[in-house]
């Protein structure tokens, strides 16, 4: 466990600077937007834009970051140390995933704090249409967890793409992109193929999970989990495969 935490700390230290930079940019953007709206220079819609912009940029940044954390190991030759350490490959991959999760949480938190800080009246008005603060917090937490799951799957795909690219002698960038496309296609097909095996699973009533009836009666949202199960199993298998390849067959000089 200690070794895992050390790996995590190392990855977090590496992302400290960009995390601080992005947090600062987000807060400055919000402050500037608030200032421009206050002086009548920008319309109120700009407030929404300044809240949404960091949220749109966040997945792109984290996608890049998940690739970059592995790339740095090669660029700075720390991959030698990683492979020499008595740490299984899955712990290395998991530590990187966890670091990305923490980065995501921090940047999301900064955006939320900035929104409350600079656009409090907007939040206050928005809260008036929501059933309660508890409802908003509960659903916010659920959406955050869904975000974590989606992010995890993206990171796992990127990790596989990177490791596979390091097994190719040339055109590693193209191999990485092509692996990314193929792995996405493969797990989707796996979901379709395994769907009959999971038809016994009941549909997940999202409207109950998110308590949408408190917002408006008559909303029905159901999630058919059967086609998703194969996809999730495929993603899990990719994590195992990536860890195995990284631990045993990756080319450090690539």
């Amino acid at each position: 466990m200690k070794r895992f935490l050390r790996l995590l700390r190392k990855d977090l230290q590496a992302s400290l600077l960009p995390m601080g930079f992005l947090s600062g940019i987000t807060l400055i953007l919000m402050f500037f937007t608030r200032f421009k709206i206050s002086t009548g220079g920008w319309p109120i819609e700009a407030a929404f834009a300044s809240i949404v912009m960091p949220l749109v940029f966040l997945p792109l940044w984290l996608l890049w970051q998940s690739f970059q954390t592995l790339r740095t190991e090669w660029r700075e030759d720390t991959v030698y140390t990683l492979l020499v350490l008595p740490v299984p490959g899955w712990q290395v991959m998991l530590a990187k995933l966890l670091a990305i999760w923490i980065e995501y949480t921090v940047l999301l938190g900064v955006t939320a704090i900035g929104t409350l800080l600079f656009f409090a009246p907007l939040v206050q008005e928005a809260m008036e249409i929501l059933p309660s603060v508890v409802w908003a917090l509960r659903n916010g937490l659920l959406l955050y967890l869904i975000g974590l799951a989606l992010l995890a799957s993206v990171v796992i795909f990127v990790q596989l793409a990177f490791v596979i690219s390091k097994m190719a002698g040339r055109v590693q960038g193209l191999v990485a992109i092509w692996t990314l496309i193929l792995s996405g296609w493969l797990v989707e097909k796996l979901g379709v193929l395994l769907e009959p095996l999971f038809r016994w699973m009941p549909k997940l009533p999202l409207h109950k999970l998110f308590r949408l009836d408190e917002l408006r009666q008559g909303i029905v949202a159901e999630w058919n989990l059967a086609p998703e199960m194969g996809t999730w199993l495929g993603i899990l298998a990719i994590l195992v495969l990536t860890s195995y390849l990284f631990e045993h067959y990756v080319e450090v000089n690539g």
């Binding site: 193929l182 379709v192 408006r216 999630w223 067959y249």
Partner: protein
């Protein structure tokens, strides 16, 4: 070295399968062609499996005010030269059982006549599962209060006093002679050919107020907080912190136009 070759061979094989899938199967993403998440907002009036219509006719004699309370459906309102108040209600529900428990109740309180949906013993549940639409005709000059949520309000050629409270609704008014007081949240308000005093309170909305050029003119008192204001009425706009205010007159300034708006876009058009 062997595993590397195997990995690259697998990659090549998958590439071949991918190309075959895209070329010959169109890369279908699901075996059923259905999305995994099914989302539906109901009940929808046009899709309501069961409907019940009620007609109410009252002589205006003792009534000065008519109150209509709708939900999810459409409220049509217009003035007539008759002295009769005609209200046709249509209740829509997804099951006969729910529909049987529902009625539009007529209430009389002194000089006010009211219509709203009621659901007997299990009121709360049934009301939420249904929607009600109204077609209303009132004698010119009468006061009408309309409350609407999650639906539409369509008012045409209305003469009288209008009090309208709406949320999550589309409001269309085409031709109004008289006084209008409108409260709107999270909706779209489109007022055309308005002739008379008007008070509008809105938030998180898009509101367009089209004023007809009438004798006496208008006295504008507008305040938009955290929103925007567009106009062609010639009044002065004062831009402050988080707010846009406007005061001014057109003509003699007899009819007040009071607008209080939060987080909305307001457009005032004057047909000069």
């Amino acid at each position: 070295m062997k595993i590397r070759r195997m990995t690259l061979a697998v990659l090549a094989l998958l590439t071949l399968l991918f190309v075959v899938d895209v070329r010959y199967f169109g890369g279908d993403q699901s075996s059923t062609g259905q999305p995994s998440i099914h989302f539906n907002i109901g009940p929808n009036f046009s899709d309501a499996a069961f409907e019940k219509k009620q007609t109410f006719i009252q002589s205006q004699d003792e009534f000065t005010t008519l109150a209509i309370k709708g939900q999810q459906g459409v409220i049509h309102l217009r003035s007539t030269d008759d002295d009769e108040i005609r209200v046709i209600s249509t209740i829509g529900a997804d099951s006969q059982d729910v529909l049987d428990r529902l009625d539009v109740r007529e209430s009389i309180s002194e000089s006010e006549l009211g219509y709203e949906l009621t659901g007997g013993k299990s009121e709360g549940q049934s009301l939420q599962e249904a929607e009600v639409s109204f077609v209303v005709e009132v004698p010119a000059g009468m006061e009408v209060s309309v409350e609407q949520h999650f639906g539409q309000v369509k008012i045409k050629s209305f003469v009288g006093f209008l009090n309208l409270e709406a949320s999550f609704s589309d409001v269309d008014v085409w031709g109004l002679e008289g006084t209008a007081t409108i409260q709107n949240r999270f909706g779209v308000v489109d007022l055309r050919q308005i002739a008379g005093p008007i008070t509008l309170h809105d938030s998180f909305s898009t509101s367009t107020i089209g004023l007809a050029a009438i004798d006496g003119g208008y006295d504008f008192d507008i305040e938009v907080t955290n929103g925007s204001l567009k106009h062609n009425a010639g009044f002065k706009v004062d831009i402050g912190e988080n707010r846009v205010g406007a005061r001014g007159q057109w003509g003699e300034g007899v009819h007040p136009v009071v607008i209080r708006s939060n987080f909305s876009t307001v457009t005032v058009n004057l047909d000069k």
